[in-house]
Each structure stands twice: as structure tokens, then as C-alpha cells.
């Protein structure tokens, strides 16, 4: 625990990636294999479910510090992190814990089965044995959400150096379902037996957004152009006749999409298909909003399956007859994919078509029509490119359609979390309905740190009312909001829900009166209905 807390402190204190990798490497060298596994699991998001409800932590912090719960709450709004709030509130202590990370994680696992009283007693007793920083790390382990500025990529880099292996190999070994309790470091990372883990997916290759005109990419003939489907990324694996479906968040979603998970794979070769899980009906993709009805459901009923059926739009093949073919050129992988889709012959697995374009102008023209097809834009992939690991520049580009946009007025601001602690960074925007401002969207992203600091100052000086962490402010600031989709919604006062709203720019040249009206926004809805 001491060593792990020290690792987190080191990572926390360093801004450069080299220093972080060095700290990780240090930890790997000095820890037991069990501790290593836990460290990897925790830092790459594979943490066990949270052992106690988070309100218990608030109550304990209040008890131990002798301050009322509402004040714990107010403090939390400012600190922006419950684990840190509880660590700051409880009295300081110079002791350090002798427990190892894996021993501690075992204790936390047992915590889940205890009632509140027993769990509370355990946590209070443990707090007394920990220094303030260890207490923070311990609370983080309890509350989950262990985001500390270490990406999976850094973890992979450190492990690759530690084991003297290729980073892509390590990234692959870390994929899929494993947990520190059921696997040994040796078997997972040092000497994995091939085919031991039939469900293991490959790391996804992610595209970079294309920000300039595509003619920068050279001759169109070298590229494959496809629609960018508006669903969720998925990897469909068939090994030894059994099917596994993974989402990009490395979640096994086979049972959520029986249209794919229950296909009969007994006659298939061992293959891994990369594609888009897409809501699709009567030969046409459905808007993303409908797919959302499926995403959260672990076991979808008949009714919702009929209402929102899904298909896999297959666009790449990573394994063919049990062989990893990611290093082969896209044109070769594509040929095999076409053979496979043909052979599988299922109405639920459709080939994502290559678009017939001869010039970039033609591609640009197709891109403008994407929205009508419920596509997000175009994908441009180099025909000679291999299938890489993670987000890499150069061979895979996404060329999204320009967002729809409106000008809206800032009316509420809320304090943020994490890096945005003690900063009003989460905003609610409104548009005009006659002389009234109605909330239309919340947006958190798109401003530079400098702009956000400026808005923060504005909020603090122009507060009208306070509602816990939220403040209503003088309606003066106007922002251009971009969004990817629009739908009717009964849950919102405006009757409208926007998809992925974010701030495109601060319209300092505009007064609140010049912002858009609800009617203007509804015009997008009508335009969409016509297509």
C-alpha cells in the first residue's frame, strides 16, 4: 500500500509522460507479482465493483471530523472528488500502512459482503492506520473511478519495457476479461499460452479526425472510403464455434445483442470481425438515439428487439482461420472479410460498403449527404495500411460532417470535478421562447483553460442564486454550441434533446438578445424530418 500510494503520488506530481513511465517501471521492479497485477488492473480501469455505497464514505467523514453532513457536501462540491474530500476532512496521521496492495484489495473485496456498520468500522479503523495521502488512495480504491493521469498507453509502455516486449503485444495481452484474483502475472503477461483465452479481443485501431481538406492525403486511389456509421464500435469473435461480442470499452456485450451473440457459429472459421453495432431496420440505419434504448439493457426483451433491431456493419477482419492478420494490408484483409461475410450469409452481418468515388470532390459531396443516411461522416483508410493499436495518425482518418450549431445563453454553471475542481466549468445554456430563456443543453467541453477561467470569474461575480454546487447567473454570455443530432424529448422542458452538445466558440460579439430562439432550434428538427 505504501509503495502503491507513493507511485500514485509520483504520477500525480509529474507532468511529463517519461517521469510517469519511470515511476511505473520502478513500481514494477519492486513489487510482488500479485501487487503488479492489481496495479495494472486498477490503472487500466479493470477495478472490482465499488465495495460500499459512496454515501457511506460521506457519513463516515462527517462522523470522524465532527462536521455536519451538509458541510461535507459543500466541501465535496469544491474539492470535486469524494475520496479526496474524505481524506482532507479526517485528522492527519503520520502512520503508514504495512499491508500490501493485494492484501488490501482482498480486504476490500470482503467489505462488499459486510453491512454498513461493519464496513464503516473497518474503514474508520483503516483510516487511522494511514497517512493523509495513503488515505486518499485508499478512498479512491473504495470509490472507484481511479483516474489519475495514467493512460492505458503509459501502463503498456512501462510493462513493455519491464518485460522487454513489443508494446502492441502487451496491449493485446491486457485485453479482454481477466481479473487479478483469477490469473497469475506470469500467465497473463510473461508467458501466455496461445488460445488459452478464447474470448480475448484485439486492441482497437482508432482514427484521427481529419481537420484539413482530404486532397492533402494524396491520390484517392490509395484510399478506401466508407461511411462512418453512427452506432457503437464492436468486435465480434468466433473461436471454436463460440461467439463473443466486445464493445470498445472492453465490455463483453454478447448477451445484450442476441442478433449477433446468438448466431450459429458452428460452421464458421475462427475469425475476429471489427465493425459497428448499428440500429437497423428495413434496410436502413436508425438514428443513434434509438440505439440508446439497447445500450443499457443487459437482456433486451422481445419488444425492444423488434422496435430497435441491430446489425453488425463489418468493416475489418483481424483474425482469419485462427491467424492474426492485423499486419496484412487493408486491401488483403478486406478481400477476406468479403469472403467471410458472403460465407456467413446472415442478414445481421452486413458488409460496410466501399464507396464508389473517383475524386475528393465526389467524396466531399457524399459527406454532405451523410446526415440523411444517419451516418456521422466518412472514414478514409489507406489500402496498404496495417491494423494498428490505439489512436494512430496517418492511415485511418474520420471525416465527420460539420455539426449543427446554434447560439445560446449561459444561464447556470456548476463546479467541476477532477482537474476542474473549484472551477465553474459545467454549463447549462438556454434559447429564447418569447421573452423567456428555456434551457436547451448542458455542455462541458470546447473552451480553452484560459476561457474557462474567464467564465469562472464571470460566474462568481454575476451569481443570482445558489443551489448547492449550481449557480444561476446573469444571462449575458453567448456561446455557439455545436451538436451532432436533435430529437424530440419529453424529459426536457424545451421538448428537445441535443446529441453531444459542446461549445464551438464564445460569441463575445453577441449580446444575449441575439441568441437563437427555440423556434430556430425546432427548425433543425423539421429539416431532419423531411429527409
Amino acid at each position: 500500500m505504501q509503495a502503491f500510494a507513493q507511485l500514485i503520488a509520483q504520477i500525480d506530481a509529474s507532468s511529463g509522460t517519461n517521469a510517469k513511465v519511470a515511476a511505473l517501471l520502478d513500481y514494477l521492479h519492486q513489487s510482488s507479482d500479485d501487487d503488479k497485477l492489481w496495479c495494472i488492473a486498477l490503472l487500466s480501469g479493470k477495478r472490482p465493483p465499488r465495495p460500499v455505497r459512496s454515501s457511506l464514505l460521506r457519513e463516515l467523514a462527517a462522523q470522524v471530523s465532527g462536521i455536519p453532513l451538509w458541510l461535507v457536501e459543500e466541501s465535496y462540491h469544491v474539492v470535486g472528488d469524494l475520496a479526496e474530500t474524505a481524506a482532507l476532512l479526517t485528522p492527519t496521521n503520520e502512520e503508514q500502512s504495512e499491508l500490501s496492495l493485494s492484501e488490501l484489495m482482498q480486504e476490500l473485496g470482503a467489505l462488499r459482503k459486510m453491512d454498513d456498520e461493519a464496513a464503516g468500522a473497518y474503514i474508520r479503523a483503516t483510516w487511522q492506520k494511514l497517512s493523509r495521502y495513503e488515505r486518499f488512495v485508499f478512498n479512491k480504491l473504495i470509490t472507484g473511478g481511479f483516474r489519475i493521469g495514467v493512460s492505458q498507453r503509459l501502463m503498456v509502455r512501462a510493462l513493455a519495457r519491464y518485460l522487454d516486449e513489443d508494446p502492441n503485444t502487451i496491449a493485446h495481452r491486457l485485453m479482454g476479461a481477466w481479473s487479478p484474483g483469477d490469473v497469475q502475472f506470469e500467465d497473463l503477461l510473461r508467458n501466455p499460452r496461445p488460445n488459452e483465452n478464447l474470448s480475448r479481443p484485439y486492441p482497437f485501431y482508432l482514427a484521427y479526425p481529419l481537420e484539413e481538406a482530404p486532397d492533402q492525403l494524396g491520390e484517392l486511389g490509395q484510399w478506401q472510403v466508407e461511411y462512418k456509421w453512427d452506432g457503437i464500435r464492436g468486435q465480434l469473435i468466433c473461436r471454436k464455434g463460440k461467439l463473443y461480442l466486445w464493445s470498445r470499452g472492453e465490455e463483453l456485450v454478447t448477451e445484450r445483442y442476441p442478433e449477433l451473440g446468438e448466431l450459429d457459429g458452428s460452421a464458421w472459421p475462427d475469425v475476429v470481425i471489427d465493425g459497428e453495432i448499428l440500429a437497423y431496420k428495413e434496410g436502413k440505419p436508425l438514428p443513434f438515439g434509438l440505439l440508446q434504448k439497447r445500450i443499457g439493457r443487459k437482456k433486451p426483451g422481445k419488444k425492444v428487439q423488434e422496435e430497435v433491431p441491430v446489425v453488425l456493419k463489418a468493416y475489418d477482419l483481424l483474425e482469419w482461420h485462427g491467424e492474426d492478420i492485423r499486419h496484412k494490408a487493408l486491401r488483403e484483409r478486406r478481400k477476406k472479410l468479403e469472403i467471410l461475410v458472403d460465407q456467413v450469409n446472415s442478414s445481421n452481418i452486413l458488409l460496410s460498403p466501399k464507396l464508389e468515388v473517383e475524386t475528393w470532390e465526389q467524396a466531399a459531396a457524399l459527406r454532405t449527404e451523410c446526415r440523411a443516411l444517419a451516418a456521422e461522416g466518412l472514414m478514409i483508410k489507406h489500402l496498404d495500411g496495417e491494423y494498428k493499436t490505439g489512436r494512430k495518425r496517418g492511415e485511418w482518418w474520420k471525416w465527420k460532417v460539420d455539426p449543427m450549431s446554434i447560439d445560446a445563453v449561459l444561464i447556470y454553471a456548476m463546479r467541476g470535478h477532477g482537474r476542474r475542481a473549484n472551477l465553474f466549468s459545467d454549463y447549462t445554456f438556454a434559447v429564447w421562447k418569447a421573452s423567456e430563456l428555456v434551457p436547451i443543453a448542458k455542455a462541458y467541453s470546447g473552451l480553452s483553460d484560459k476561457e474557462m477561467a474567464e467564465v469562472d470569474r464571470f460566474v462568481k461575480r454575476n451569481t443570482i442564486e445558489r443551489f448547492g454546487p449550481v449557480r444561476s447567473v446573469q444571462p449575458e454570455l453567448v456561446f455557439e454550441l455545436g451538436f451532432e443530432g436533435i430529437a424530440e424529448s419529453k424529459r426536457h422542458k424545451s421538448g428537445i434533446a441535443l446529441r453531444f452538445p459542446r461549445m464551438l466558440r464564445w460569441r463575445k460579439d453577441k449580446a444575449a438578445a441575439e441568441a437563437n430562439s427555440l423556434e430556430d432550434v425546432k427548425a433543425f428538427l423539421r429539416a431532419q424530418a423531411r429527409t
Binding site: 500525480d12 506530481a13 509529474s14 507532468s15 471530523s65 462536521i67 455536519p68 451538509w70 458541510l71 459543500e74 466541501s75 469544491v78 474539492v79 470535486g80 472528488d81 479526496e84 474530500t85 482532507l88 476532512l89 492527519t92 486518499f136 493521469g149 467541476g416 470535478h417 477532477g418 482537474r419 476542474r420 475542481a421 473549484n422 472551477l423 483553460d449 477561467a453 469562472d456 470569474r457 462568481k460 445558489r466
Partner: protein
């Protein structure tokens, strides 16, 4: 009619016809301390502690100012006015106003810990206490300054060993002098940015001494910075001025550094938690030892602190002011009058 009114121009005492730390121009003012959000330009006259006068003259230029000692009594239209130590920065004062048995204390900014540099905070009995609330949440608990100084020195030594320059961001009035006063001279040379140098010069006229602070002007050879410490205000850290100091490590010394989110957002190599404001316990102690029944909470987490004090039996209310309490960067450190630069 109460002795003090909260007006749009600032805190006002009608009986004496004086404003305390006003933010809009008025004729007569009492100034708690020389930070720019409390001592603003374009006032008819200024009355403050001698040390504040010295700094205000440097920052605000040609002003009509009068200085007093701590504890010295002034009578204005029957109102007794006394400046008492607030322990925040050199010259900082709590201003006590008394008339017809009504006693108010306007404490400006304060801390309870003795920093060895300025006159330590002195509790003053009153019936009405005006308090800041910059760090008025129980999550703010300061470690002893000696421990913080020791960890700054350790970091400095480490950087020195690597041949790096150590840069500390600190306010040019108050924190900079506190650091100069406390940091060891054994580790290496200490340089200061021009804004700190100017403040030091002003404080020297009031009798303060900073023998180890060297002005970092263009004549200083870059080689001397390897292993040295440089103190600089926030405005310099964000500017191209910093480039001249590379290779360097940059740390910040502020109460705000106690929040991990703030530390991460500001991207300093290190954050040291050291404040010239009272922490949660300090604020509570100050309110308690004032003996006041009525507490007015200004700049900071004023609404939360007022609510807390009400739950503790005080008549407390939050007062909106133009002092920079809630803004992390707004303890307006820089002179408000650009001509004085």
C-alpha cells in the same frame, strides 16, 4: 443606525464618514492592507498602518496617505479608530471602530500563525466582526509552516543537484517576503522578479531587511541561475519571462495548492500548501475569540461559512464585496495602477 453600512462602494462608517477598503472612488478611506483588491487607486485620502503606506506609495503613486502604528488611537467625529495586527502581510491590520459602546472589527485578510515576518494576529474583542472566508471550508487545514519550508528546501536541493533553477510562484507582496525570510541561504543564491524587488524596496523604507534577495535583472549571468532559487509573481510565470530561466522546475506556494484538482490544472512541477490566510480552524478560532455576536462574512466561501456560523449560534450573514476571495488568481497582487509599474 449601525456603525458600519455595507454599500455599493464598500464598507462605510457614516458617523466618521470613512470607507474601509472601498472598491469605488470615495474621499476618505481606511485601508486594512496594501493588496490591490483592498487598496485601490483614486481615493481622496488613505489612512493605514505605516508599512502599508510605504507599499501603497510605491504601487499607487502620488497619493494622500497617512500612517499609524498598531494600537494608536484616532478619533474621527467621535468614532475611535484603531489599527491592530492581522498577521496577513507586513502592515496588514484589523480595523477597530468604536462609538457609543458599539464596537466593530473589520479584519481584512488575516492568519493566526506567526510567520516571523509581520506582527502576529491579535484577537480583538468586539460585538460586530467582519471576517474574510477565502479558505472557509473544513477541507482546508494548514500544515505547520516550518514543515512546508523544509519540503521546499528539500525540493530546491534536489533541483540544484540536477543543475536546475528552482522557480517559486508567489504573490509579490507578502508571500515572497515570507519565503525570503524563512528560506535557508545555504542552498544557493536567491533572485527575485522585478515586481518583488520593487515591493522589497518599498518595505525597506519601512525598516524591513531582505539581505539575500538579489534583483534578477538583465545583467545577471544565466549560469548563476543553475542551482539558484527565483521568486516570481503569477503574471511572470505565465509569460515568456520564464523562458530565460530554463532549464528549471516551477513550483507554486499557495493555500490553493491543497486541492489536487487545482494542482493538476495549473500544471506546476510541485505545489506547496502555504497560505497567508487563516485555514478553517483559524477562521473559527478568530470568530470565537472576537467574542462577537454578529459576524459578517465577506470574500470567499462566504455563504457556506455564514451558514455554519449560524448553526453555531452566531448572528451571521454573507456580504458580497469586490474583494478577491473566491477567485484563485484574484488576490490582486499586481498594482492596480499601471502607471506605477
Amino acid at each position: 443606525m449601525p456603525l458600519i453600512h455595507f454599500t455599493e462602494r464598500g464598507l462605510y462608517c457614516p458617523r466618521a464618514d470613512v470607507y474601509i477598503d472601498p472598491w469605488l472612488p470615495v474621499s476618505k478611506t481606511l485601508i486594512t492592507h496594501a493588496h490591490a483588491d483592498h487598496a485601490r487607486p483614486r481615493m481622496g485620502s488613505y489612512l493605514s498602518h505605516h508599512d502599508s503606506v510605504a507599499v501603497m506609495r510605491q504601487r499607487l503613486g502620488d497619493i494622500s496617505a497617512e500612517g499609524v502604528r498598531y494600537g494608536e488611537k484616532k478619533k474621527v467625529n467621535g468614532v475611535e479608530i484603531t489599527f491592530l495586527p492581522a498577521g496577513h502581510i507586513p502592515g496588514s491590520a484589523q480595523i477597530r471602530l468604536a462609538s457609543e459602546g458599539e464596537v466593530w472589527v473589520i479584519s481584512g485578510d488575516y492568519k493566526l500563525e506567526n510567520d516571523g515576518l509581520c506582527e502576529p494576529f491579535e484577537p480583538v474583542k468586539c460585538s460586530h466582526f467582519v471576517t474574510e472566508s477565502t479558505f472557509a471550508l473544513p477541507v482546508y487545514q494548514w500544515d505547520e509552516a516550518g514543515n512546508v519550508m523544509a519540503s521546499i528546501e528539500r525540493w530546491w536541493q534536489q533541483n540544484s543537484a540536477e543543475g536546475l533553477c528552482t522557480v517559486l510562484q508567489c504573490y509579490s507582496l507578502g508571500k515572497a517576503q515570507r519565503l525570503l525570510h524563512a528560506l535557508s541561504q545555504e542552498i544557493g543564491e536567491i533572485f527575485v522578479h522585478g515586481a518583488i524587488h520593487n515591493t522589497n524596496e518599498a518595505l525597506k523604507t519601512a525598516g524591513y531587511k531582505f539581505p539575500h534577495a538579489q534583483y534578477l535583472d538583465a545583467s545577471v549571468d544565466g549560469k548563476r541561475l543553475r542551482g539558484a532559487m527565483v521568486l516570481a509573481p503569477p503574471s511572470a510565470i505565465g509569460s515568456s519571462w520564464l523562458k530565460k530561466l530554463k532549464p528549471c522546475k516551477v513550483g507554486a506556494v499557495s493555500g490553493w495548492m491543497s486541492l489536487r484538482g487545482t494542482r493538476r490544472r495549473k500544471n506546476f512541477d510541485r505545489g506547496f500548501v502555504l497560505s497567508d490566510h487563516a485555514d478553517w480552524k483559524g477562521l473559527n478560532t478568530a470568530v470565537l475569540s472576537s467574542g462577537a455576536e454578529h459576524v459578517y462574512v465577506t470574500h470567499g466561501y462566504s455563504h457556506v461559512f455564514a451558514k455554519w456560523l449560524r448553526s453555531q449560534g452566531y448572528q451571521a450573514q454573507a456580504i458580497d464585496t469586490a474583494f478577491g476571495g473566491e477567485d484563485e488568481d484574484a488576490e490582486q497582487d499586481e498594482p492596480a495602477n499601471p502607471e506605477s509599474n
